[in-house]
Amino acid sequence: MHLGHLRKDVSKVMRPEDNPAVRECLRLGSHEAKPVKMIDPQQHLGGALEIVQALNEGNIVCMMGDRSYGFDTLEVPFLGKPAYFPYGALAVAAATESPVVVLLTHKVLEREYIADVSNMWRPIYEDGQKKRTTKRLAKQLYRALRIIRGRTSL
């Protein structure tokens, strides 16, 4: 809802049936400014045309960093064990030369959350090193998550 203050259209890459609670939350925000537009990753080409068009127009595309939707993941050391994280947002940003703002939230009280948006990157592929670059970016992302965890004593 607060993204409305940025005066940009907001799209969210998300399967429509995945989370009714989130869907309801987004619907509730629709009376304020412009409603959040859903881009279904299950449609043809995974919504690539809509995603690129939205970014070209300078708008915001949100992608969840913890759901792979069946797409590839990268193995990243996380809290002492290998974990498998999606890297779609980083790959889309690198392909379209868009910045990534990492939004990390955690619940501190029943109705209180802390949101951290202090990490912003412009992923750029190094020539011929696509896999390595993507993995480096993913590690950077999940390192940020560990730092947040440390700050908030989770």
């Binding site: 449609q43 080409l45 690539a48 045309l49 690129v52 070209n56 590839d72 392909a95 379209t96 896999k131």
Partner: protein, 97 residues
């Protein structure tokens, strides 16, 4: 079809194959010449996925100055190297005017 159009299409197909192999992580081991003109790009063909699709849409913009916006049109355009090449041939000159 005139010979010059066919020659231009051949050149576009070759350029596209080289660009895709250099750009897409999943095609690193493939020789561009081994990609068939009519091979499906997604699913059972070359097996590209939606992240590759984003890269191809961005490539069309950066390299050829083309913006595909119509979702229905996209379904046809992104079928194979051949359909992509024909789209580039038919639209490159229009957008550059």
């Amino acid at each position: 079809m005139t010979a010059s159009k066919e020659e231009e299409l051949v050149a576009i197909r070759r350029e596209l194959k080289e660009l895709l192999v250099s750009m897409l992580a999943g095609l690193e081991e493939i020789d561009p010449a081994d990609i068939k003109d009519d091979e499906m790009l997604f699913e059972e063909g070359l097996g590209l996925d939606s992240l590759d699709a984003v890269e191809i849409v961005a490539l069309l913009q950066r390299h050829f100055g083309l913006h595909v916006k119509d979702m229905k049109e996209g379904r046809e355009i992104f079928k194979s190297i051949d359909t992509l090449s024909r789209y580039i041939y038919d639209n490159r000159s229009k957008e550059n005017k």
